[in-house]
C-alpha cells in the first residue's frame, strides 16, 4: 500500500514541478467551454446542454493529462526501472491511477465552475449531493480508462493520435452516464434526481470494471517484450 | 423491381469488397511467398 502512495506522490510531485495541469490543461478545458458557446450560439441551448458539454471537455482534457502521465516515464526508461524494482505492476497502476484521479478531480471541479459561470447553471442542495457523487465516480472511471489505455499505447509511435481513437469509444458509456446524472443534478426538466442516481450506479460499475481490468492488464502491458 | 438502386448498391458493395479483399490478399501472398521456401511456411 505504501508503494501505491509512493508512486502516486512521485507522479504528483513531477506534475506539480511542471505545473502543466495548471498552466496548460485547465486553460484548454475552459477554452473548450468557451468554444462550445461560440459554436452553439444559444444561451438556452447551452444551459440545457451544459452537463454534456462539461463532460465532453473533461474527456478531451483528461487524455492530455494521461499522455503526460506516461510521457514522463518513457523519457529515460523510468517506468522500466520502476517495474524492475520490487514494486508489483498492479501497485504501479494504482499509484498512477491515484495521481490521475487527483488531477482530474481538479479539472472537473474547475469545469463545473466554468459551467456555472459561463452557462448559467444552478445547483441546489439535493442536486449538489448527486453532483459530488457523480463527479467522484465518473472521475475514477475516466482515470482508470485513461491510465489503462495510456499504458497500451505507451512508447508506441503515433500514440498521441492513437489514445483518443482507442479511449473515446470505451468512454462512451461514461459520457452518457455522467452527462445524464449531471443533467439531473443541474435540475433538468426531463431527468429527475432518482434517474440521476441510477446513472451513478452505472458509473460506479464502470469504474470498478476498468480499475480491475487495469490492475489485471498492467503486468502484461509493461513486462519486457520477449 | 422497386428500390432496385439501393438493393443493387448494397449487394455490389458487399460482394465487391469481399472479392477485392480476397484478390488483394492472394496477390500479396503470392509475391511474398515467392521469396520464401516451402519449409519455412508454418502451414506446410
Amino acid at each position: 500500500m505504501r508503494n501505491v502512495f509512493a508512486v502516486a506522490r512521485k507522479d504528483l510531485v513531477v506534475e506539480w514541478r511542471a505545473r502543466l495541469l495548471l498552466v496548460r490543461v485547465l486553460p484548454f478545458a475552459l477554452l473548450v467551454l468557451v468554444l462550445f458557446a461560440v459554436a452553439l450560439d444559444s444561451e438556452a441551448l447551452l444551459e440545457r446542454a451544459a452537463a454534456g458539454l462539461v463532460w465532453l471537455a473533461a474527456m478531451f482534457a483528461a487524455l492530455l493529462v494521461v499522455q503526460r502521465c506516461y510521457d514522463i516515464e518513457t523519457a529515460d526508461g523510468a517506468l522500466d526501472m520502476l517495474l524492475t524494482s520490487v514494486v508489483e505492476p498492479s501497485r504501479v497502476f494504482f499509484g498512477k491511477l491515484l495521481a490521475v484521479v487527483g488531477q482530474l478531480l481538479v479539472l472537473v471541479v474547475v469545469l463545473v465552475g466554468g459551467a456555472v459561470v459561463l452557462y448559467g447553471v444552478r445547483v441546489d442542495a439535493a442536486g449538489l449531493v448527486l453532483l459530488v457523487t457523480t463527479v467522484v465516480t465518473a472521475v475514477i472511471g475516466l482515470a482508470s480508462v485513461g491510465t489503462l489505455y495510456g499504458a497500451v499505447v505507451a512508447q508506441l509511435t503515433g500514440r498521441d493520435s492513437l489514445l483518443p481513437l482507442l479511449a473515446m469509444p470505451v468512454l462512451a458509456p461514461l459520457l452518457i452516464g455522467a452527462s445524464r446524472a449531471t443533467e439531473a443534478a443541474f435540475g433538468s426538466q426531463t431527468i429527475d434526481l432518482a434517474t440521476g442516481w441510477a446513472w451513478t450506479a452505472l458509473l460506479a460499475v464502470f469504474a470498478v470494471v476498468f480499475t480491475a481490468a487495469g490492475a489485471a492488464s498492467f503486468a502484461t502491458l509493461t513486462e519486457p517484450d520477449a | 423491381m422497386k428500390d432496385l438502386g439501393f438493393i443493387l448498391l448494397s449487394w455490389s458493395v458487399t460482394l465487391g469488397s469481399m472479392a477485392l479483399l480476397a484478390l488483394a490478399t492472394l496477390r500479396r501472398a503470392k509475391s511474398l511467398a515467392a521469396r520464401v521456401s516451402d519449409d519455412q511456411k508454418p502451414w506446410l
Binding site: 492513437l162 470505451v170 445524464r180 460499475v205 | 422497386k2 448494397s10 480476397a22 490478399t25 516451402d38
Partner: protein, 263 residues
C-alpha cells in the same frame, strides 16, 4: 575467381534444389472452402434476387436483408474469434504468435463485415424507415464495435516487434469484450429515456416464409465460409510478412558473408 553459387543458407532461402514451391498461401483445404463459398454465395444471390418473393410489408427492399443479416452475423463471429484468439495468446507462454495472427486476421475481416453490416443496414433502413440512421442500441453498438476495431487495427500497424504487437493488441481485444456490453447496456438505458417504441429494426417486422428462411440461412453459411477462407489466407499472409522481417535480415547477413568470402 568469381563465385556465384549461393551459400547453403542462401540456397535454402532461394528454395533452389529439391524444395517444392507452392503458389502463395493456398492449400487443398482452402481451395475446397473457396469453391464452397463461391457455390453457396451464387445460390444466395440467385435466390435473393430471383426466386424469393417480395415481402408483404416491405416489398423488394427485404432483399437487402439477405446481405445485411449474414454480414452482421459474421461481424460478431469475428469479434468473438479475435477475443478468444487474443485470450489464448495472452495465457499461453509459447507459440502465441500463431494465435495472435489469427486474432489480427479475424479483426481485419471483421472490420470489413462490420462496415458492410452498417452500410447495408443504413440503406435498408432508408428504404423502410426513410432515415439512414437510428440511434437504437443495436446499430449504435455495432458502430462502436466498428470504431473499436479500427483502433485495434491501427495499433497492429505500429512499427513494433511481433511480440509487442501481439501483447498490446491482445489486451485491447480482451478489453473490447468488456467494453461492448457496457456500451450496449448504456445505450439501451439512454434511449429508453426517450420512450421510443420497441427497437426499430427493419428485420423486426419481416414475415419469413420457408424459402426466405432457407435463403437467409444459406447466406449465413456462405458468409461464414467466406470469413473462414479470408481469415486463413490473411493469417498466412501475416506469417509471410513476419517472415520477411527475419528472412530479410538473414539474407542480408548471408549476402555480407558471401561478400566477405569474395574479397
Amino acid at each position: 575467381m568469381s563465385d556465384t553459387t549461393p551459400t547453403p543458407h542462401g540456397a535454402a532461402l532461394l528454395g533452389a534444389g529439391t524444395a517444392r514451391r507452392s503458389l502463395g498461401t493456398a492449400t487443398p483445404a482452402t481451395r475446397i472452402i473457396g469453391l464452397l463459398t463461391l457455390a453457396t454465395m451464387t445460390w444466395v444471390v440467385v435466390s435473393a434476387f430471383f426466386i424469393t418473393s417480395p415481402d408483404v410489408v416491405q416489398g423488394d427492399s427485404v432483399r437487402i436483408m439477405y446481405a445485411h443479416v449474414p454480414a452482421a452475423w459474421v461481424a460478431y463471429l469475428a469479434f468473438v474469434t479475435t477475443a478468444i484468439a487474443s485470450g489464448i495468446s495472452v495465457v499461453r507462454r509459447h507459440r502465441t504468435l500463431g494465435f495472435d495472427r489469427v486474432a489480427g486476421a479475424s479483426a481485419e475481416v471483421g472490420v470489413l463485415f462490420m462496415g458492410l453490416a452498417l452500410v447495408t443496414g443504413s440503406l435498408w433502413g432508408r428504404l423502410t424507415w426513410g432515415t439512414f440512421w437510428q440511434w437504437d442500441p443495436r446499430l449504435t453498438t455495432t458502430l462502436f464495435l466498428f470504431i473499436t476495431y479500427v483502433g485495434y487495427l491501427a495499433v497492429r500497424r505500429i512499427d513494433a516487434t511481433p511480440e509487442r504487437r501481439a501483447k498490446r493488441s491482445a489486451v485491447l481485444a480482451l478489453l473490447a469484450v468488456l467494453e461492448i456490453p457496457l456500451v450496449h447496456f448504456s445505450v439501451v438505458l439512454w434511449r429508453s429515456l426517450h420512450q421510443e417504441a420497441s427497437v426499430l429494426n427493419p428485420d423486426g417486422d419481416v414475415r419469413l416464409d420457408g424459402l426466405m428462411l432457407f435463403t437467409l440461412f444459406s447466406g449465413v453459411v456462405a458468409f461464414t465460409l467466406g470469413f473462414v477462407w479470408l481469415v486463413i489466407h490473411r493469417q498466412r499472409l501475416q506469417a509471410l510478412v513476419d517472415l520477411q522481417g527475419t528472412v530479410g535480415l538473414d539474407s542480408a547477413i548471408a549476402a555480407r558473408a558471401t561478400e566477405a568470402v569474395l574479397r
